[in-house]
Structure formats: C-alpha cells, structure tokens
C-alpha cells in the first residue's frame, strides 16, 4: 500500500505545472483566437500528456487533468485526453458528445476530429448549431452522426473521471487564489484573512478538497466508481468557487479579474458529464446491486 504519487509522477506534475503556469491562452480562446491555446496543446502533446491514457495508467491521466484544471487551460481536454486517445490518429484535439449526459461536443469548431457516442457506439459526426456556455472558453456544439465507427466501451466513465480531476485542480487553484487575496486585501485596518469568518470559510474549502482528492485518485485505481469522484470533486470545487467569489467581493464578480475563468469553468463542469444527482443515482445502483 502506497497511496501517493510516485517520484516520476510528481516530477511529471511539476513539469506540467511549469509549462501551464505560463499559459494565458484562456482569454484569447474565449474570443475565438485559438492560436495561443493550440501552442499549449502542442507542448502538451510533445510531453506525451495527450496520449497518457493509452501510454500510462489512469492515475497519470488524472495527474494531467488536475494540472489542466489548476491552470484553466482551454480546449476539449476531457475528450482528447481521456475519452478518445485511440481515435486521435496523430491529430492534436478531438471532441465528442455522449448523450444523454454530455449533450454537446465542446470546441467542435477547433477540434481536428469530431465524434458522437451513442449507446456505446462511436460515430464520426459534424458540428451543427453553437450553444453558449457559462464558461466562455467552452464553445458547445450540437452534433450529428455521419458514419458508424464501432463500439467504444467505458467512454463516459473515463470522461467522468477526467472531469472530476479537472474540477479538483480548478478547486485547488480557487483556494490558492483566495488565500493569496485575503492575505493582501485590507479592510478595517487589517488583512481580511485575519477575520475568523473568512478563515472558517476557507478552512472548510480546504477540508473539502483534501478529502475529494483521495476519492479521485481512488477512482483512478478502480477502488471507487468514477461517479464517486465526480460527486466529491464537483462538490468540493463548487464550494471553492462560491467561497472564492465571496471572499473576493465585487472584484471577483467581474470578467476583468481572472478569477472568473475558474468560477465559470467550475460551474460548467459541475453540470457537464452528469450532475451530482445523476452520479448519486449511479452509485446507489451499484451499492444496492
């Protein structure tokens, strides 16, 4: 029993962090300028991060997705990295819808390959109408199947796990940003982080994230269902988002402040890939089987 990242995995996570921390591709992506984001994705591909799900273990995939969440990297990450790695075929980005819980294919305008998974079967697809997400970095598209490709097992659960990891990373980033902010913002002559109400909010966020992380990694190891990871990480990240907004005050409510990149993404991912209710129903079905 060794429930921690290996030395190589930690090093890989550090490498990813160093690469992604420099990225400010999100704002450009939101306005349709994909080039800075694609440059990041080419770096990720060079590091082997986009094919990690086929080359490594699920834990490695989670490491990558957590980093992507932490740095609010735009693009169809869950789809490319966790769901469709075998179907990338040398391309950079792939996307898919998986109805009923993933109704839209995210970033189908920029993805090299577009699919839809219906009842466990993979189809090539073409994007249709665009739908606006709360997260301006997520361009959502309706898709229409064109040609049947073949069976694709476990696609939804792999995506759910990746989504959980991304949420976990985003939640951790929101807490880090909040901690940094409340230490330097002064009101009534003191840093707001010295007020107990603020402290207790952030402590609760920390506890939630600390206990969600082992669930996500436990799901990667297969001891818990992917649904459990989505519930735990979704709730912890959402609490981190609500609290981050509250402790930032009005500045957090603006799109000018970068916090909005994470706030909107967490809200979007909380709804995407199956809501908490969907996943709780799945867990109970498994528990009482």
């Amino acid at each position: 029993m060794k429930f921690t990242l290996s030395e190589e995995q930690t090093q890989f996570a550090d490498t990813l962090d160093a690469l992604l921390a420099k990225s400010d591709a999100a704002r450009a992506w939101a306005t349709g300028n994909h080039e800075p984001g694609l440059a990041v994705w080419r770096h990720l591909a060079d590091l082997g991060a986009t094919t990690i799900a086929t080359d490594g273990e699920p834990v490695d995939m989670v490491v990558v997705m957590e980093a992507i969440g932490y740095h609010a990297i735009p693009g169809p990450a869950i789809e490319t990295i966790a769901v469709l790695p075998e179907w990338l075929d040398g391309a950079l980005l792939a996307t898919t819808a998986i109805p009923p819980h993933v109704s839209y294919a995210v970033d189908a305008d920029v993805a090299d390959r577009v699919f839809v998974v219906q009842d466990g079967t993979l189809f090539a697809a073409v994007p249709g109408k665009r739908v606006t997400s709360v997260d301006p970095c997520r361009a959502l598209f309706e898709v229409t199947a064109t040609a049947e490709i073949g069976p694709l097992a476990g696609a939804f659960d792999r995506g759910v796990l990746a989504c959980a990891a991304q949420l976990l990373g985003a939640g951790r980033a929101l807490l880090a940003k909040s901690v940094e902010y409340v230490k330097q913002r002064t009101q009534f002559g003191k840093p707001i982080g010295s007020y107990q109400a603020v402290k207790h909010h952030l402590a609760a966020v920390h506890v939630g994230l600390e206990l969600a992380r082992p669930v996500v990694y436990g799901a990667a190891l297969g001891v818990l269902p992917a649904s459990a990871a989505k519930i735990a990480a979704g709730d912890a990240a959402y609490r981190a988002a609500r609290t981050a907004l509250q402790v930032h005050g009005a500045i957090g409510y603006t799109t000018e402040n970068d916090l909005s990149l994470w706030l909107t993404k967490v809200r979007a991912l909380h709804s995407a890939w199956g809501t908490g209710q969907v996943h709780r129903a799945r867990v109970m079905t498994e528990l009482s089987a």
Binding site: T4, Q9, V179, S194, A203, P214, A232, R280
Partner: protein
C-alpha cells in the same frame, strides 16, 4: 500508487477477522453504567489475552508491533464485526502515546501493561470550568511536598471518570498561561478526590467533574519535566483529533449499516444523502491511507489532524441524521441509531471544538494571519 495490502497485513487481517467472528460479544450494556463499564472492562481483558487490545504497541507491553497500516486495518475489522466501544480509549490512544514519547522506562513498564488489559482504566482530566477551548487558562494547581506534589482544583467533562481508575492532566506548578504547567497522573480513588458524575444528553453519566483537595502524587507520576507540561501535552494532542481516536473503521461500519437501512425502505428523497454518507466514509478511508503512506515515510501528523477531526465529526452527524430521517417517526425512539446520533453530536465539541480546528487549518495550513 496502489492500495494493495502486503502479505503480512493480509494475514493479520484474516486472523483478526476470524478471531472477532468467534469472540465478539452480543451487545454489551452501555459503558456509562456501572455494569456496562465492568462488562467493557472484561471485554478489553479478552482482547488483551488475544494480544489484540493494543496491536500497535511493542510486544513487551502487550502489543504486536503492528504497523500503522495494520492498526487501521484492525480498526476496520473491529468495527465491521460490530465489536464494543473501547472503554480504555483515552488511556491507550491519548495517554500511551504521551508515555511512549515522554515517559520514563519505569513509568512505561509500570503503567502500560495494566492499561492494555484494562485493569486500570484512565480518564483524561484536561478541561476545567474556566479552561475549555482556552486550555492554557488552567487553574488547578500542584504544590511541592515531601517526595511529590499536592494537587488541588477542579477538572470537568472527564469522559468515563465516573467509573474509571486513574486520571491524567495538566496542573499549574508556576507561571502563567502555557508556561508553568506540569503533566500529572493521579488515582481517582486517592484521598482528597471527589468524582461527581454528570448525565449527558442520553441521560447516562458519561463524564464527570473531578474535585481535588490536596491529593498526593509522587514524583514518579509526573510525565516529562516540571513546568513543561504544555509541550508534553501538545506533542501528542494531534493523536486525539486525528487518526487514533477516530479511525475510518467505525464510519465505514456506520455507512454500511446506513445503506442497509435505506434498502429496507428505499426513500428516493433520502437517497442522495445516503450516497453522500457512504462516500464520505470512503473518502475518509482513502484520505487515511494517504496519511499512513506519508507517516510511514517519515512525515508527521501535525495540523493536518485538524482536517481529520473536522471531517469525521461532521460526517458522523450527517450519517446519523440521515438514519433518523429514514426511520421517520420512529427516529424519535431509543435504539442504536438514536444512541449513535446523540454520541455524534458531541464530536464537533470534544477534542478541540471545530471552530478551533478551523482556526488551526486557516492559520497553520493555509497561512492566514492571526
């Protein structure tokens, strides 16, 4: 990264499981009654004879030198088997680590074996009427006398002190606040000691006030240096908040019973809360495996124990509230779930209130200013 148990741990788990299956008694009366206390003491003796009462201790004191992982596994098996609550918990989980870290060889040899077989059951006498969260406000004092000390003052909320044999706590020997406190052990039967039982929410005298009036304690019953009691106490206080007092085993067992209860009347409205309770117990289990891994490679528990305490105490209440709601109108009536609920309600208060734990997390882990 893996969660696989090694061969030695699997063998230990199998032994514990089969021993518990053969030996776990049917429900004992509450340990907060005179009969129940003695029944629990006898059960500790049975555990001790199988060398299962203190598995992580050295063999010379009745243990098996079990690793932390094996101890966690033991606890999972213990609660899964529905075995009784541990009447000696405050001795074996709170005082013993202090003795291992700060006690003399003589103290360990004299006190640990009778703690392990529950011949002596220990009560924690830390809190006072004016020193709750603010433990450094302790007023009970010790005066020098020939060959030892005379303790005087009042301790309170001391769990199981009603029927226990000995107590341990801090007394003022000089100075103010954290300075000048000394860690003493004393007999609850010594001349000058008066124990007044206090009925808890369930009506049973689960804790007590202790009045001390010039109670003689020999020098041999001081732990660590005189005036250094605060450091001695704090160095092992994380044991109480953290893993050792409430390992995942009991919550996993409660979660399993909760899922079974739900299955007998699958109320769709309560389904999500049942899943959350089950998931919370799994999360705490895996989180603990992370802690065990870290400690095994030389880390220390420290402020992280506050994260544990916040999580398990809220989880315990949520699980029992869900059970009472599943029981509908029957939730009001006495039974295991109601007992467990009343017990869980104290979780956010003892072992350092959850407000204090949130302060610790915010200041010592997140680095927020005081």
């Amino acid at each position: 990264m893996d969660l696989d148990l090694d061969a030695a741990t699997l063998a230990f788990q199998a032994e514990v499981r089969s021993w518990l299956a053969a030996n776990t008694p049917a429900d004992l009366p509450s340990m907060d009654t005179a009969d129940g206390f003695e029944a629990h003491r006898a059960w500790e003796r049975t555990l001790f004879d199988a060398r299962l009462s203190v598995v992580s201790w050295p063999e010379e004191f009745g243990g098996r030198n079990a690793s932390l992982l094996q101890w966690v596994v033991f606890e999972e098996e213990y609660y899964a088997a529905g075995a009784p609550a541990r009447v000696s918990q405050n001795g074996i989980f709170l005082l013993a680590p202090t003795l291992f870290a700060h006690g003399t060889a003589e103290q360990c040899a004299r006190l640990l074996p009778t703690m392990a077989n529950a011949e002596q059951v220990w009560a924690q006498a830390w809190s006072e009427p004016e020193a709750g969260s603010d433990l450094a406000a302790i007023r009970a004092a010790a005066r020098r006398t020939d060959g030892g000390w005379l303790l005087s003052g009042q301790k309170t909320w001391s769990s199981r002190a009603t029927f226990a044999d000995r107590g341990f706590g801090l007394f003022r020997t000089s100075g103010e606040r954290h300075r000048g406190l000394t860690y003493f052990m004393f007999s609850l039967r010594a001349p000058g000691v008066t124990v007044r039982p206090i009925a808890q929410l369930d009506g049973e005298p689960g804790f007590a006030e202790i009045f001390l009036d010039d109670v003689f304690v020999p020098d041999d019953d001081v732990i660590g240096d005189v005036d250094n009691g605060w450091k001695v106490a704090m160095s092992t206080a994380s044991n109480e908040r953290g893993l050792s007092l409430r390992s995942p085993g009991r919550f996993l067992a409660t979660a399993r019973r909760l899922v079974e209860l739900w299955e007998t009347s699958p109320d769709p409205v309560l389904r999500d809360r049942v899943v959350d309770a089950w998931l919370g117990a799994q999360a705490y289990r895996l989180y603990t495996f992370g802690t065990v891994t870290r400690l095994a490679s030389g880390g220390s528990l420290g402020a992280e124990s506050s994260v544990n305490k916040l999580f398990w105490s809220d989880l315990d209440i949520a699980m029992h509230e869900t059970a009472l709601d599943l029981l509908g109108g029957e939730g009001e009536t006495t039974g295991d779930w109601l007992d467990g609920y009343l017990f869980s309600l104290a979780g956010p208060i003892y072992a350092g209130t959850n407000e204090i734990q949130r302060n610790v997390v915010a200041e010592r882990i997140l680095g927020l200013p005081r």
